[in-house]
């Protein structure tokens, strides 16, 4: 197991190098020049060159990338020897072209909001999806099954920006049952935090539970027809033991895979959710950075998203091996 984890971490680091190199290269290909954008309207060629030098983007791509990688491991210094020298401790992801703030501090600042959305919503959609799927599988063909699947279909068909705006309009603007969604620290104001997160959680859960419900239902139905389940029934095991210890456990493996991917992606930034509910998370940070051609922030958020996805995949594979004894980690 440990050697497996070590190998996965090593390959993950390699993937991160490739991702960061690709992001750098794409940035170079972009037509927009961040120096020109930052220069403002009263821009001269001489000023633009000075800005490019101050931003350290007048260096060859390979040099810039090398300095970036060095900064991640040992830190780096900007504008050395001037009155505005900046020391950036490792892991240094650079300074935002837009705000002049360290990228790591921007990410740290935005991460809790995204974590709040991702963790809360994922637990809720897992609960709703699994419950719905189990109920549908056990009550196959009944009104409960049809109702559950209709609910799932609605969730799969609708979009976050539609559902989110409608729910806000009803519960925040009209009924005033809930406060405006946003983010406050759960450690400072836990009740406020939960109230402001309800709508994003419910919206995401409604939309994403659909696939979990369908997967659970179809998986359980398939497993329930297996010979060993019939044997278990014949042996006199209770329905509860059969359904949860044997059927669900076998059916759950694809759900774990999908959950890992979904959670990993959401941790990288739930862009639309954050925009609809005005939650200042990583997704918003990333899209704002793209709009502003803020390369250090783009690189930082892309790398972080890649880390989440790589980690989620690794954890999923490990959990898989526990759930299915036939799977051996090699």
């Amino acid at each position: 197991m440990l050697s497996y984890i070590a190998r996965r971490i090593t390959s993950g680091v390699l993937v991160l190098f490739i991702v960061s190199a690709v992001v750098f290269s794409i940035f170079y290909i972009l037509p927009a020049d961040p120096a020109r954008l930052a220069c403002g309207k009263s821009c001269t060629p001489e000023l633009m060159e000075r800005i490019r030098h101050a931003m350290e983007i007048d260096q060859p791509l390979a040099t810039q990338y090398g300095r970036f990688v060095k900064g991640v491991f040992v830190g780096r210094t900007y504008n050395a020897g001037t009155e505005v020298q900046l020391d950036c401790a490792a892991p240094c992801l650079g300074y935002s072209y837009q705000t002049d703030l360290p990228v790591t501090s921007l990410i740290k600042d935005r991460l809790p909001a995204t974590l709040s959305i991702a963790v809360g919503a994922s637990l809720l959609w897992l609960l709703v999806g699994l419950s719905g799927g189990i109920l549908s599988a056990l009550k196959r063909g009944t009104l409960i099954d049809r109702g559950s699947q209709a609910f799932a279909l609605a969730g799969a068909s609708l979009q976050i920006y539609f559902v989110g705006l409608i729910l806000q309009f009803i519960f925040v603007n009209k009924l005033e049952w809930l406060p405006m969604p946003g983010y406050v620290s759960p450690f400072e104001m836990p009740f406020e935090w939960a109230k402001e997160m309800v709508l994003p959680w419910v919206t995401l859960a409604f939309l994403l539970s659909a696939i979990y419900s369908r997967l659970t239902r179809s998986g359980m139905i398939e497993v329930m027809s297996e010979d060993y389940i019939r044997t278990a029934r014949a042996k006199g095991l209770s329905a509860r033991q059969i359904n949860f210890k044997h059927v669900l456990r076998s059916a759950i493996t694809p759900i774990v895979t999908v959950f890992g991917l979904d959670l990993g992606a959401l941790l990288g930034g739930a862009v639309i959710t954050e925009y609809v509910f005005n939650i200042p998370g990583l997704g918003k940070l990333a899209t704002e950075a793209v709009a502003n051609v803020d390369m250090p922030v783009i690189t930082g958020t892309v790398l972080l998203a890649a880390i989440f996805i790589i980690t989620a995949n690794m954890i999923v594979d490990i959990i898989y091996s526990f759930l299915d004894p036939k799977v051996r980690l090699k």
Binding site: I51, L101, M180, N278
Partner: protein, 573 residues
């Protein structure tokens, strides 16, 4: 002489619809003391929290970097300058702020001296000195670190020693700025006559900065206050909270108010979310407004409806929406005149949102600049009376062209209604016999890309402009003076205008120190370039539509920077 205005983006230029609104500049020779406080706003009471919901954070709040209307208006809550605009009961005046007078010009407006108010304090209780004001300007020379602001200090101040700013020349001086021995006046020596220098010193590169509080590029994130409020917290892209600055004395400030106890801004909400919230007037929206969100989807719900009347603000801004025709690529004047005739004002304004969003205009100069504005025909008709396309006339001009360029690229930004407007123009041009390619550019790089000369130049450029100060020099020089261009960069002269006869007229305005005279001359130049050269097709002046919460009073259209302004806002009890 290069003058630049404010492009759209996050800027909304404000100007009241009432004919009586002008920007008044008291005589430069008046030496009267302009004492505070600012006159009381009718019905205003102190207290409460004003909430502001914006789609995006300010680009910059550092005075040396701030060049966007909404931010220029807002940051006056904590940034004072030598002079400042005050809009009160529909009238906008430029008044002394840190200065005690409007300044005295001498030596043909190449030397300006301002008396300074005594005992004006920073938020820490220390006095704002002449040295602070000088340092604020010196610091603006470090424009590679403090990127993005106006360059008026560098453009106009004499700089024989090639001063480059305090970060790379910490011991050097900028001798063109001198403080009197007592520190009670400041004198600027200019490199050229600038008769409108009073308007220039209202900008942040002439605002004071306390040297010990200067944090370079990071000053953007926590400016040190000289105004009625100070920053309590500022989380970039998320929120900003202002609380009262106890050191601000209203008796020293005839231009500001401080009615709310607190001002809380939240950034990042979607346009639809803010619109719905303000219209529904629920929860925190009751005490809220927005600086950068105009009514779009919700406009039809609100316009003309009695229940919204008291919290709906509609005003004509000096923001012109127009089309610039690239003289480098569309070389035949008959083709350019054909384009002028082909454009349908109705469809463009409809695409923008209808008559509540814009009114047809023949000029890029707002009618409020009465010395500069001209009423003239475009394509032989009054566009306010006959806004529809003159397709027959367009075809006629096209048939007369010797260099028949009929394939046109129309450039526009990926923002709001720009695509719809560009499509309307494309359709009108095609009806006149042109073949049109619409080319969309990302917002962030639009003005850079369309200014590039020599490669991939668009033929027709969708543009907009709002003046930096209320004079034609802030519009016509920036947009039409051929001297602003280089071989590779059109700068703000997107039509690449460089006609020798027109340029002679521009040169004649350089020595005009009388603003009325230069306004008249520049108004004539604009008319010539539009009618004779056909470089521009002005289409409409923007109308701004804002809504605010029912418990908010004092929201107004600011005539100085062109925004829906919270400067006089208060929370109703």
């Amino acid at each position: 002489m290069m003058k630049l205005g404010r492009k759209t983006g996050s800027v909304i230029a404000a100007f009241a619809l009432c004919a009586g609104v002008v920007v008044a500049v008291p005589s430069a020779s008046a030496a009267t003391e302009f004492a505070g406080p600012a006159p009381a706003v009718k019905g205003a009471t102190k207290g409460g929290t004003l909430n502001i919901f914006d789609q995006s954070d300010f680009e910059h709040l550092d005075p040396a970097r701030n060049y966007v209307g909404g931010a220029l208006d807002f940051y006056r809550f904590f940034t004072r300058a030598l002079l400042n605009y005050r809009t009160y009961e529909g009238k906008t005046e430029l008044l002394p702020d840190l200065a005690a007078d409007m300044g005295t010009a001498s030596e043909n407006a190449t030397v300006w001296t301002f008396k300074l108010r005594p005992n004006v304090k920073w938020e820490d209780g220390s006095t704002i000195t002449c040295a602070d004001i000088k340092y604020g300007t010196m610091r603006s020379y470090a424009d590679d670190v403090l990127k993005g602001g106006t360059t008026y200090a560098k453009d106009f101040l004499d700089n024989p020693g090639n001063y480059k700013g305090p970060y790379i020349q910490p011991s050097a001086d900028l001798p063109s700025i001198t403080c009197s021995p007592k520190g009670d006046s400041i004198t600027y020596k200019l490199s050229q006559p600038v008769p409108y220098f009073q308007s220039i010193v209202a900008y942040g590169s002439f605002a004071p900065i306390k040297k010990s509080k200067d944090t370079g590029a990071n000053y953007d994130n926590k400016p040190f206050s000289s105004g009625p409020y100070k920053i309590q917290t500022y989380n970039r892209g998320k929120d900003l909270t202002l609380i009262r600055n106890a050191q601000w004395d209203p008796k020293t400030d005839p231009t500001r108010w401080n009615y709310p106890d607190k001002i809380v801004l939240k950034f990042g909400a979607d346009q639809a979310v803010i619109e719905n919230g303000l219209i529904s007037d629920s929860g925190l929206y009751k005490t809220a407004m927005s600086l950068d969100t105009e009514l779009v989807a919700g406009l039809s719900k609100v316009v003309g409806v009695a229940k919204y009347k008291n919290r709906f603000l509609q005003y004509q801004s000096p923001y012109s929406r127009h089309y610039l025709i690239n003289m480098d690529t569309v070389t035949d004047v008959n083709v350019r005149k054909a384009i002028q005739c082909a454009i349908d004002y109705n469809t463009v304004i409809l695409a923008a949102g209808g008559s509540n969003v814009g009114s047809p205009s023949n000029s890029m100069i707002p009618s409020s600049l009465s010395n500069a504005y001209r009423k003239f025909d475009i394509c032989g008709r009054d566009v306010t009376k006959k806004p529809e396309a003159q397709t027959a006339a367009a075809k006629d001009f096209l048939s007369k062209a010797t260099v028949k360029k009929t394939d046109l690229t129309v450039a526009f930004r990926d923002k709001g209604t720009e695509k719809a407007r560009a499509s309307a123009v494309g359709a009108a041009l095609e009806a006149a016999g042109f073949k049109v390619t619409l080319k969309e550019y990302p917002v962030a790089s639009y003005y850079t890309a369309i200014a590039v000369r020599g490669a991939d130049e668009p033929d027709v450029i969708q543009g907009s402009w709002g003046y930096d100060w209320a004079a034609a020099t802030g519009i016509v020089l920036a947009l039409l003076d051929g001297r602003t261009m280089t071989k590779t960069d059109a700068k703000s002269n997107y039509s690449r205008q460089n006609d020798s006869a027109i340029q002679k007229l521009f040169e004649a305005t350089d020595s005009m120190t009388d603003v009325k005279k230069s306004d008249k001359a520049l108004g004539d130049i604009e008319q010539k370039t539009i009618q004779d050269l056909a470089t521009v097709v002005p289409v409409y002046m923007q109308i701004a539509n804002s809504i605010f919460g029912s418990k908010v009073g004092g929201v107004q259209a600011d005539g100085g920077y062109g925004t829906t302004s919270p400067a006089a806002a208060y929370i109703k009890k």
